[in-house]
C-alpha cells in the first residue's frame, strides 16, 4: 500500500496559523514544476518495486498550479511509476482557485478525491485567519465540485478559534451536512511557534480560546458525527463508511511513502528522509541534475515504538496489543505500568486487545502518548 506525496510549496497569501513550508513568491513556479519533474525521474528507479495505491497533492496550495502543470506532473508519475488501477488520487484545493474549468481538468487528470480548505463558513473567521477566500466561495466550491462529478470530497474545518462560539461551530457542521460532504477533517487550532498567530498572542493582541470552550466544540462535533453517521476514524478525521482517506491511513499503518517537492518526507523500511524545505535551493539542485539536499533519519526501535503509539492511539481502532508485543519487554512493561492510572482516570480503555483513547483521552492525547513514550 505505498503512497506518493507531492508538495506544492506556494500559496497566494500566508494564513496566520500556518507553519507548513510554502512561499508566497510565485515567480519560480515554472522552474519548480520543471525541477519536480526531474525529481520524479531521478527517484523513479529506486521505487520500481512498489505499486502505488495513493497519490496526494498537498502543500502549500496545489490548486495554484495551472491545469497543464498538474497534467504534466501526473503524466510523469504514470509514465515512470507503477500506479495501481485502483488509485486514490487526492488534490488539496483552496476554494477561490476552484473554477469549473480547473475542476474538469483535475477530473481528466484522474483525480478522484478533492480536499478543499474551507476552515469556516463565516467571513469573520476567514478574515481573522487571513484566508484568501470568503464563505460564498467556500459554498460554491463544494457545489461546483459535485457538479463537476466529484463525489469523494473532503473539507477542512478549524475549531477552537479565538472568536468561534459553539453556535457558530454547530452552524458550520450543519452546512457540511447540508452540502452532503462525505469526509471531514476538523483541526483544533494549534498556535504554532513562529506564526503570525503566536506573535499576536505574545503581544496580547489576541486571546486564545478557553480550553473548555474548545472541548465543548469537540463534543458537539462527536455528537454531530454520530447523528449523521460521519464516523470518526482518527482524532481529526471523520467519514461516511467507505470514504476514509487511504493515503492518510497509510501513514498510521506504517506503510512506505515517497515524498516529492521541498520539505516532503519519504518513508521506507525504517528510514525517513526529508527534502530540504527551501524552494530556490530545491530548484537549483534539480535543474543541474542533482537530487535535492535531504536529511535522513534511521528510526531506532525506540523511535518506531514511539511513532506507533503516536499514530495508532490517535485512531479510533486504537493500538493492538499484539503489535506492542513485537517490541522489547521493557517497553511493554512501561505501558503496562502506566495504563491502570490512565484507565482509572477515564482516559484510555482496553477493548478486545486494543488500547483506545476515550473522548477525554483524545483531548489529552499528546499528554497521554508522551507519557507512554519510552525515552533514554
Amino acid at each position: 500500500m505505498a503512497g506518493i506525496y507531492i508538495h506544492i510549496p506556494y500559496c497566494k497569501q500566508a494564513c496566520h496559523y500556518c507553519n507548513f513550508h510554502f512561499s508566497t513568491d510565485k515567480g519560480s513556479i515554472n522552474e519548480f514544476v520543471e525541477a519536480l519533474l526531474t525529481e520524479i525521474s531521478l527517484k523513479a528507479g529506486a521505487w520500481q518495486d512498489e505499486v502505488f495505491e495513493t497519490i496526494y497533492f498537498g502543500g502549500g496550495t496545489p490548486s495554484i498550479l495551472s491545469g497543464n502543470q498538474i497534467r504534466s506532473i501526473i503524466q510523469a508519475l504514470y509514465n515512470q511509476y507503477n500506479i495501481s488501477s485502483n488509485i486514490e488520487q487526492t488534490v488539496e484545493c483552496n476554494p477561490d482557485d476552484l473554477s469549473i474549468a480547473l475542476l474538469k481538468e483535475l477530473k481528466l487528470c484522474g483525480f478522484n478525491r478533492l480536499s478543499i480548505g474551507i476552515q469556516s463558513f463565516f467571513d469573520k473567521h476567514l478574515q481573522m485567519m487571513n484566508r484568501s477566500h470568503n464563505q460564498l466561495q467556500a459554498r460554491n466550491a463544494i457545489a461546483d465540485a459535485s457538479y463537476a462529478g466529484f463525489s469523494n470530497i473532503t473539507i477542512d474545518l478549524i475549531y477552537g478559534l479565538p472568536d468561534l462560539s459553539v453556535d457558530e461551530w454547530n452552524k458550520n457542521l450543519s452546512i457540511v451536512q447540508e452540502l452532503q460532504v462525505p469526509h471531514l477533517s476538523c483541526y483544533s487550532l494549534t498556535i504554532e511557534e513562529r506564526t503570525a498567530l503566536a506573535h499576536f498572542v505574545k503581544q496580547n493582541k489576541m486571546k486564545p480560546a478557553e480550553d473548555d470552550l474548545t472541548i465543548k466544540q469537540y463534543h458537539s462535533l462527536l455528537q454531530w458525527s454520530k447523528q449523521n453517521r460521519i464516523n470518526q476514524y482518527e482524532i481529526s478525521n471523520f467519514a461516511k463508511a467507505g470514504f476514509e482517506s487511504k493515503h492518510n491511513s497509510n501513514y498510521w499503518n506504517n506503510q512506505p511513502y515517497l515524498g516529492l517537492g521541498p520539505s516532503a518526507h519519504s518513508y521506507f523500511q525504517n528510514t525517513r528522509t526529508q527534502n530540504k524545505p527551501h524552494n530556490i535551493q530545491y530548484i537549483r539542485r534539480l535543474l543541474s541534475g542533482q537530487l535535492p539536499e535531504m536529511t535522513t533519519e534511521l528510526l531506532s526501535v525506540k523511535d518506531t515504538f514511539n511513532e506507533l503509539l503516536l499514530t495508532r492511539l490517535r485512531t479510533v481502532n486504537g493500538l493492538n496489543r499484539n503489535q506492542l508485543l513485537t517490541f522489547p519487554k521493557s517497553y511493554v512493561d512501561h505501558v503496562d505500568a502506566l495504563f491502570p492510572d490512565f484507565n482509572k482516570r477515564g482516559l484510555i480503555e482496553y477493548n478486545q486487545s486494543n488500547y483506545v483513547l476515550t473522548t477525554e483521552g483524545q483531548m489529552l492525547s499528546d499528554y497521554i502518548i508522551s507519557s507512554l513514550f519510552v525515552t533514554d
Binding site: 477552537g160 483544533s188 487550532l189 501513514y251 516532503a264 526529508q274 503516536l310 483531548m363 508522551s370
Partner: protein, 596 residues
C-alpha cells in the same frame, strides 16, 4: 630583593584593571603577541563570557629600568563587591597598589573601599586616571577627585589608557620608583603567606604564596602552620602566563608550590608556610577568614546525583575557598547541601560553574542571610536555613546582620536612592559631597534587604549611575517571620523564606503570582498558597489543562511531533514532584525574579 616590586591593581568594577594588565604584560614582553588576547588574565570561561574578573590573578614580569632588571609581581583583582575579599588577600601580599579610576566615571564606591583597604595595609598608592582615550573622559575633574580622596599631589596622578597604551611606561617607572622593595630577612626561618590556591586534577592543589622572610628551595620539607601538615616541596616556581619551575624562591618574591596535596582541607588560604628543618616561631598575620554572606540550598535535579554533586562542590571549593557547604535535606528536594556564598553574583557563578565544569544542573532554593536565634532559655542558635528557625513559642528574639552601605551618585538621584534605602529599612548615616556633582550616601541597613533585587532597583532608579559598596556591621534584633509556600496544601520546604514582617504580605502575594506564571498547567487544578504558620496570606490558582492535542499527524508531522513530545518529556524528567504537582527547576528561583 632590592629589585623586586609586588603590587596589585585595584579599582571599581569595570574601570579597566584587566585591560591595563594586558598592556603591562605586553610592554614587558611577558607574553608574546600570539598569546595576547583581551583581558588575557581572565582565563576562566565564565570570566571571559561575563567580561568580569572573578578571581585574582598573579603573574611575574621583568622590566629594565636605568640599566637594572627588576622583577615585578602583579596581581590583578576583581572589582565586584562580592569578591572584595580577593582584593584583601592580594593587598596582604603586596607593598603597593595601582588605583585605577575610569576618567569617564570618576570615583565610585569600590574605588573608595578598596583604597582604604590598601591604605590600612600600609600600601604605597599609585593613583591613575584611566581610559583617558574616551570621549567622555573628564581628566581634570577625575584628578581633582583623586587628589581629594588620596591626599596626594596633583602631579602624582598618572594618566593612562589600557586601550591605546598611553602611560604604560610611566606606570612601570612609578612602580619601580615609588613602591618600596619588599622588606624581610633572607636568612631568617621561612615565612610564606598563602594568598590563593587552585586545583589541578593531575598535580593536586597548587598554592600561591609570597615569601616575607627566608627562602624556599625545591625539595625542602615544609610545614603549614594552621594545619600542622608536613609535605615535600615537589615543585616550586614563579607564575608567568603558565607556571615556570625554579629551584629557589627568595625573600620578597611571589611563587607557587606543589606538594601533591589533593584534599582541600589541608591548604588554607591565609596560612603560613615554613620549613621543618628551621621553622619560624609564628605565622604571619594573615587576613580574616572570609565569611559567607548568603546561604542557599543546592540540590541535584536528579536525586541520584547527590554523590556526584558532593564531589563537584568539593572540587569547586579547591579553587574557591570562599564557598562553604554542609549536607542538608529537604522534603521537596531530597538530599543536597546548604552552601554559603559571598553574594548573589557568587551564587550565580557557582551554579553556572557546576553546570559547565561538572555537567551538574542544580536546583537552588531561596537564598537567605545568616540569623541568630535566641531561645527563651538563653541558648543562641545560628539559623542559615528557614527550617532551622525555632517555633515562635520557644523564641526570645532573632537578630539579623546589618551592613554599612555606601553609594555614590549624582545629586539629582538622591531622592530616589533615599526612598529606596528607607523602603529597605535603611537608616541614613551620612551624606557627603565629594564634588559638587557627586555625593556619597552612607546607610545602615539589613543585609537581607540587598540580597534580592536591590542592585537592579538601584541601577534602574539612578539610570545605571549609582555605584554601591558595603561591609558588615553587626547583628540587630529583627521581627522575622517564616513564610511557607504550599502547592495543593503540600508544603514546599525549598520555597520557604525568612522575611521581615513588614514585607511578608507583599512578598507572599508576589511569590504566588510568580509561581502561577512559572508552573506549567497540569491535568488538575493547582492551588498555590503562601502561609505564615497556619494563616494563609496569599493565594493563586492554576486551572487544569483539559486540552493537549496535536491537530495534524500525517507524513512529516509524525517525526516532528515525536521529537517534540520526546523533548517535552525529557524536560519533565527534570521537574520535581511535590505531591502530585510537577515543579520545574526555575520555579525554585521564583523569588529571585519577583520584580521581572
Amino acid at each position: 630583593m632590592q629589585h623586586i616590586r609586588n603590587f596589585c591593581i585595584i579599582a571599581h568594577i569595570d574601570h579597566g584593571k584587566s585591560t591595563l594588565a594586558d598592556r603591562l604584560l605586553e610592554f614587558t614582553k611577558t607574553i608574546t603577541e600570539r598569546q595576547m588576547q583581551a583581558q588575557v588574565l581572565d582565563d576562566m570561561d565564565l570570566e571571559r563570557e561575563k567580561g568580569i574578573t572573578i578571581k585574582s590573578h598573579a603573574i611575574q614580569m621583568k622590566h629594565i629600568h636605568n640599566g637594572q632588571e627588576y622583577i615585578l609581581n602583579l596581581i590583578d583583582t576583581p572589582g565586584h563587591v562580592d569578591f572584595s575579599y580577593e582584593v584583601s588577600r592580594a593587598i596582604a601580599s603586596c607593598e603597593g597598589a595601582l588605583l585605577l579610576v575610569d576618567a569617564a566615571q570618576g570615583i565610585q564606591a569600590q574605588t573608595i573601599s578598596n583604597l582604604y583597604l590598601a591604605i590600612d595595609n600600609g600600601l604605597e598608592i599609585i593613583p591613575i586616571a584611566n581610559k583617558i582615550d574616551m570621549d567622555g573622559a573628564m581628566i581634570e575633574e577625575t584628578k581633582d577627585q583623586i587628589v581629594d580622596l588620596v591626599g596626594c599631589k596633583r602631579e602624582d596622578v598618572l594618566l593612562a589608557s589600557g586601550k591605546t597604551g598611553i602611560g604604560i611606561e610611566e606606570i612601570l617607572t612609578a612602580i619601580i620608583e615609588r613602591i618600596p622593595p619588599p622588606k624581610g630577612e633572607p636568612t631568617a626561618p621561612l615565612q610564606a603567606l598563602i594568598f590563593d590556591s587552585v586545583f589541578n586534577s593531575f598535580r593536586g592543589i597548587i598554592a600561591y604564596f609570597r615569601i616575607f622572610n627566608g627562602e624556599l628551595k625545591k625539595g625542602d620539607k615544609v610545614k603549614f602552620f594552621s594545619t600542622g601538615g608536613e609535605y615535600v616541596a615537589d615543585e616550586i616556581g614563579v607564575l608567568l602566563l603558565d607556571k615556570s619551575p625554579r629551584d629557589i624562591i627568595r625573600t620578597g618574591d611571589v611563587g607557587y608550590i606543589i606538594t601533591g596535596i589533593k584534599n582541600s582541607n589541608e591548604v588554607k588560604v591565609g596560612d603560613t608556610i615554613t620549613t621543618v628543618s628551621k621553622p619560624a616561631l609564628e605565622p604571619i598575620k594573615g587576613f580574616e577568614e572570609v565569611k559567607p554572606m548568603v546561604f542557599a540550598g543546592i540540590y541535584p535535579v536528579d536525586t541520584d546525583d547527590y554523590e556526584m554533586l558532593r564531589e563537584s562542590i568539593e572540587k569547586l571549593q579547591l579553587n574557591d575557598a570562599s564557598l562553604t557547604f554542609e549536607p542538608e535535606s529537604s522534603a521537596a528536594l531530597g538530599f543536597g547541601f546548604r552552601c554559603g556564598f559571598l553574594g548573589m553574583l557568587h551564587l550565580e557563578i557557582i551554579q553556572e560553574r557546576l553546570d559547565r565544569e561538572f555537567d551538574m544542573t542544580v536546583i537552588t532554593t531561596v537564598p537567605n542571610v545568616s540569623y541568630f536565634a535566641y531561645l527563651s532559655d538563653g541558648t543562641k542558635l545560628q539559623v542559615n536555613n528557614p527550617s532551622e528557625l525555632p517555633e515562635p513559642t520557644k523564641l526570645d528574639r532573632v537578630e539579623e546582620p546589618w551592613i554599612s552601605a555606601s553609594t555614590i551618585c549624582k545629586p539629582e538621584f538622591i531622592g530616589n536612592i533615599m526612598s529606596l534605602c528607607l523602603n529597605k529599612r535603611g537608616i541614613l548615616k551620612n551624606q557627603t559631597y565629594l564634588t559638587p556633582s557627586r555625593v556619597e550616601l552612607v546607610f545602615e541597613m539589613p543585609l537581607a534587604e540587598i540580597v534580592f533585587d536591590f542592585y537592579d532597583k538601584l541601577k534602574s532608579i539612578s539610570k545605571g549611575y549609582a555605584s554601591f559598596d558595603y561591609h558588615p556591621l553587626d547583628y540587630r534584633p529583627s521581627d522575622l517571620v517564616k513564610i511557607d509556600i504550599k502547592l495543593n496544601s503540600e508544603n514546599v520546604d525549598a520555597l520557604s523564606a525568612l522575611i521581615h514582617r513588614d514585607h511578608a504580605y507583599d512578598f507572599g502575594k508576589k511569590i504566588c503570582e510568580k509561581l502561577k506564571e512559572l508552573l506549567p498547567r497540569q491535568q488538575f487544578v493547582i492551588a498555590i498558597q503562601a502561609a505564615i504558620g497556619a494563616k494563609i496570606i496569599a493565594r493563586e490558582t492554576i486551572s487544569a489543562m483539559r486540552k493537549d492535542v496535536t491537530a495534524k499527524c500525517y507524513g512529516g508531522d509524525i517525526s516532528r511531533k515525536r521529537k517534540l513530545l520526546e523533548k517535552q518529556k525529557k524536560g519533565k524528567k527534570r521537574m520535581r514532584q511535590i505531591g502530585s504537582v510537577e515543579v520545574p527547576q526555575q520555579a525554585f528561583l521564583a523569588v529571585l525574579k519577583l520584580n521581572d
